[in-house]
């Protein structure tokens, strides 16, 4: 369609909306934001007549690539180290995608201007596309990759594992609470505009380096829809900025959304990229380097900072702090170590790191070996069953962490852990900002003004609480992470499939008791707890030299 006829067509379809006089659409989802003074925004011109064929064309390319990958035996050169992490990633991501579809009516309800409703409606269809195309990719992996275990239980594992819960915030956060907080600031202004770059651009390129060119095909196709979504979100943000009364809420929501996205997305994607790859070329960008480019330069400097002139208060401090955590505090490495510690309750296998990996880590993150090297050596030593328990239950100088009540990633930068009694319960937080999220942001009042529509943190937020005091074999059985012989575990701390004796079974983990750090913390006396927390914060958690 020519530009001129596109403009005309777009103008025509804006005639479809009207001012209702008999009844107005139900307000199912409230917001504390106001849009009375919002200027009309001219959104991207999106017309379904050209949208459907354009997307169908994209799909045809994706499906063509899938056929080609199977015919070309792609899986003969795919790295298992990489593919195993996809069991986690692809269990998580279809839910945030479909949640983005579900979030669209919340934004439509909240923002009165019909000019932008059309773009949000198209986004709803896109997100149904993204969710189902990703489920289909996973199905292909399950059918063609050597080890389908873990892919086969995918959505159940997502629903009952500790890491599914971490990922689920990136999804539940889109569809609950204040409609603008959720569907605009958290979903679009932060998750889509900032973090889809690491999700859908950085990660696929790492996949390709590990022999998997299907992930890039699917995710680049997904990403090509994002610029429209980003534009939808930007229009709403500018409209919100037009009203002074919204400024405080915007400041709150940007702090919460930025920090939560950092905690959750950097934990997951950082681990997939740094610990899922076999590509250890020195000129291969580290996650920190990619983050610096995609998030710090492209998002923070080129997108967020220019919004300051419209009166937006930017969380400069939190951007710098996130960078500090990623680069100086080794956030991603601590998360990867935690995932590997927790391997018996995962639903994928984690490859031990080798000298080649060590060298690369040290080059990219100076000081890495002193903090993590010996632990990974122990991980490798303890990888087979028979003579030892899983590493979490052997004494390797690693103290199992407390979990952050807000972001649900454990409190891994230990000196930053905040402990407080909130709503009658002792809670731990990974950082001051996560403590603020629970204690200040998600409350019915914010800085003296009522925020009746703000959401709430709910649910059984510490996963370990569900299994406190239980036998590890029973826990894994209950989770269902057992292979179809009824005894071999889905998760393994290695990739050796050559000898069944190297595979851990339920018998190898029976008799081990699993405890909840939060339950134990709440059982302590004040003095015990204070001593415990001080020791926790002071413990560098480094495996001593043998």
């Amino acid at each position: 369609m020519s530009r001129q006829s596109l403009s005309k067509a777009h103008k025509k379809i804006t005639e479809l909306s009207w001012e209702p006089t008999f009844a107005t659409p139900a307000k199912r989802f409230g917001t504390d934001y106001t849009f009375d003074k919002a200027p009309k925004k001219d959104p991207l011109k999106q017309i379904l007549r050209s949208y459907f064929p354009m997307e169908e064309e994209k799909d045809n390319r994706v499906f063509g690539a899938m056929d080609g990958a199977i015919r070309g035996n792609m899986f003969r050169q795919v790295q298992e180290r990489w593919m195993e992490w996809q069991k986690l990633f692809l269990s998580i991501i279809p839910f945030p995608e479909i949640s983005a579809a579900r979030a669209m009516p919340m934004a439509i309800d909240a923002v009165p201007n019909p000019e932008i409703h059309n773009g949000l409606a198209v986004q709803m269809i896109d997100e149904v596309r993204h969710s189902t195309i990703q489920m289909n990719l996973k199905r292909l992996y399950m059918n063609h990759y050597i080890d389908p275990a873990g892919f086969d239980i995918t959505e159940k594992a997502f629903s009952n594992s500790y890491c599914g819960t971490i990922g689920r915030q990136f999804g539940e956060g889109f569809i609950t609470g204040d409609a603008i907080t959720a569907a605009n600031i958290y979903l679009t202004v932060v998750a889509e505009t900032a973090f889809t770059n690491t999700l859908f651009v950085a990660m696929p390129s790492e996949a390709a380096a590990n022999g998997d060119y299907l992930l890039p095909t699917v995710f680049h196709s997904v990403q090509s829809d994002e610029s429209r979504h980003i534009s939808n979100g930007y229009s709403i943000l500018l409209m919100a900025l037009a009203d002074e009364d919204n400024r405080k809420l915007l400041e709150r929501d940007l702090r919460y959304a930025w920090w939560n996205n950092h905690c959750v997305v950097d934990a997951a994607i950082g681990t997939f990229i740094e610990y899922g790859t076999k590509d250890r070329r020195k000129d291969r960008d580290s996650y920190a380097e990619m983050w610096r480019r995609w998030i710090y330069d492209d998002y923070y400097r080129s997108y967020l900072i220019p919004l300051e002139k419209y009166g937006l208060t930017i969380p400069h401090d939190l951007v710098e702090e996130a960078w500090d955590r990623i680069y100086n505090q080794h956030y991603v490495h601590r998360v990867a170590q935690f995932f590997a510690t927790g391997w018996p309750v995962n639903y994928w296998r984690i490859d031990p790191m080798t000298d080649r990996d060590f060298e690369w880590f040290e080059e990219k993150y100076p000081g890495w070996y002193n903090q993590f090297g010996r632990w990974w050596e122990e991980y490798s030593r303890l990888r087979h069953p028979g003579a030892n328990k899983p590493i979490a239950f052997e004494n390797v100088g690693y103290e199992y962490p407390h979990r952050c009540w807000s972001c649900m990633v454990p409190c891994l930068i230990r000196s930053d852990m905040v402990t407080d009694k909130v709503d009658g319960q002792w809670r731990t937080y990974c950082s001051e900002t996560c403590a603020w999220t629970d204690k200040v942001a998600f409350r019915p009042e914010y800085e003296g003004r009522p925020t009746p529509n703000m959401g709430r943190l709910t649910g059984k937020r510490e996963w370990e609480t569900l299994y406190h005091g239980q036998d590890l074999a029973d826990i894994i059985t209950d989770l269902g992470y057992v292979r179809d012989d009824g005894r071999t575990l889905v998760p393994q701390p290695h990739l050796d499939l050559d000898d069944p004796k190297k595979l851990w079974t339920l018998d190898d983990v029976r008799g081990i008791t699993f405890n909840s750090p939060n339950v134990l913390l709440n059982q302590m006396s004040d003095a015990e707890r204070e001593a415990h927390v001080a020791a926790y914060r002071a413990n560098p958690n480094v495996t001593p030299a043998a």
């Binding site: 479809l16 479909i98 159940k156």
Partner: protein, 368 residues
């Protein structure tokens, strides 16, 4: 925001033979190549089931920690009390159309391609030149007004409902329904644009006034606006797809426009409106499947039928009134092929058939 960037002198990753292909080794779990956490309807799961089932978690299935974010006044996620209807197992509903990514784009693309081709041919063949002025008026006003109804349903009824149902199966089916409505409304609007750019005297702006002010259309507009105001997702789905569509949508599209266009020398309009009818056939299929499941529920069937019967009492009168207020447009075209009474009889008989499929009885006020 991403842009491709190349640095000179880059090295490239080495690919190696890894043997990570299915079947190259046997070990526990090596043959477990089907999603194992839900029971498919048939022996093997369909593609549709695989890509849809359990993507929206449920504390009653596998979601062990529950929903971790809530609303100020209640739980987050997809509370089952967002409708009065109850089910022994909401997850039993499967969309008979098996809509997912590929079907959505294939179907809608083929519709828009077909329509564009038809409009192009019509332009070339000067197909509108032979229209009588009465027919031009009919199309510019009535088909023009109708596109608002389609848009309103797509944007503020179905799109809104797909946030709220307890399973992914239901919400995706409704999302596709919304996409159909929005596309069809745009098809009609762009057709209206084509007509106003053609050589005939066609007023491309009068549709707004007709919809907002013409007394014959106010019943329809009121019905549509009231549908958008319903809070219970299943009630609005039922009141829209079962009641309004049967008594007003099908009445206007199938039993009026599709019947009379050709006799008025118009071969173009039926191809567009026919596509809308085809969409509705698909959308009615999932709607019927869903409400049948609910009225036939072994535990809650009787209670659900009571609720639905109440919704019929509440919504049928609005749609009956909207339909009857439209009656004057039956006499606008020069060539009157059908009478309102005939069209209405057809619509009512379709509605009765649907009610009997759903095991519901005829509400008062239908026999008007």
């Amino acid at each position: 925001m991403a842009s491709a960037e190349t640095t000179p002198q880059r090295t490239f990753p080495q690919l190696e033979f890894t043997g990570a292909e299915a079947g190259l080794r046997e070990f526990p779990g090596s043959r477990s190549r089907a999603y194992n956490y839900f029971t498919p309807q048939k022996l093997r799961a369909t593609m549709y089931e695989d890509v849809t089932f359990d993507v929206q978690p449920d504390p009653e299935r596998h979601l062990s920690q529950g929903w971790i974010y809530g609303f100020a006044d209640g739980p987050g996620g997809y509370p089952k009390d967002w409708t009065l209807l109850k089910s022994s197992d909401w997850h039993r509903f499967l969309d008979p159309n098996e809509e997912w990514e590929q079907t959505i784009y294939r179907n809608n693309s083929s519709v828009v391609r077909q329509i564009q081709l038809n409009l192009e041919n019509a332009r070339k063949a000067d197909a509108y030149a032979g229209w009588s002025s009465g027919w031009v008026t009919f199309v510019e006003r009535n088909l023009g007004a109708w596109m608002h109804a389609e848009h309103g349903l797509g944007m503020h009824v179905f799109l809104s409902e797909q946030r709220s149902a307890p399973t992914n199966m239901i919400n995706n089916a409704i999302a596709v329904n919304s996409a159909h409505k929005l596309r069809f409304a745009q098809d009609l609007a762009l057709y209206n644009l084509d007509l106003s750019e053609s050589d005939i005297a066609f007023d491309g702006g009068v549709h707004k006034r007709t919809w907002q002010q013409d007394p014959v259309w106010q019943g329809v507009r009121e019905n549509v606006e009231r549908l958008t105001a319903i809070g219970d997702w299943a009630e609005s789905l039922f009141a829209a797809n079962v009641v309004f569509e049967s008594l007003v949508g099908v009445l206007f599209r199938s039993h009026l426009v599709m019947q009379i266009s050709a006799r008025n020398g118009d071969y173009v309009t039926p191809t567009l409106v026919g596509a809308g009818e085809h969409d509705y056939d698909r959308d009615l299929r999932y709607t019927r499947a869903l409400f049948r499941l609910l009225t036939g529920d072994e535990t809650y069937g009787a209670a659900n039928r009571d609720v639905l019967q109440g919704w019929l009492d509440k919504w049928v009168p609005s749609s009956v009134r909207a339909a009857h207020e439209l009656q004057p447009i039956w006499s606008q075209p020069q060539d009157r092929v059908v009478t309102f009474a005939d069209s209405w009889a057809h619509a009512v008989s379709g509605f009765r058939g649907l009610l009997s499929d759903l095991d519901l009885s005829e509400p008062k006020g239908l026999a008007q």
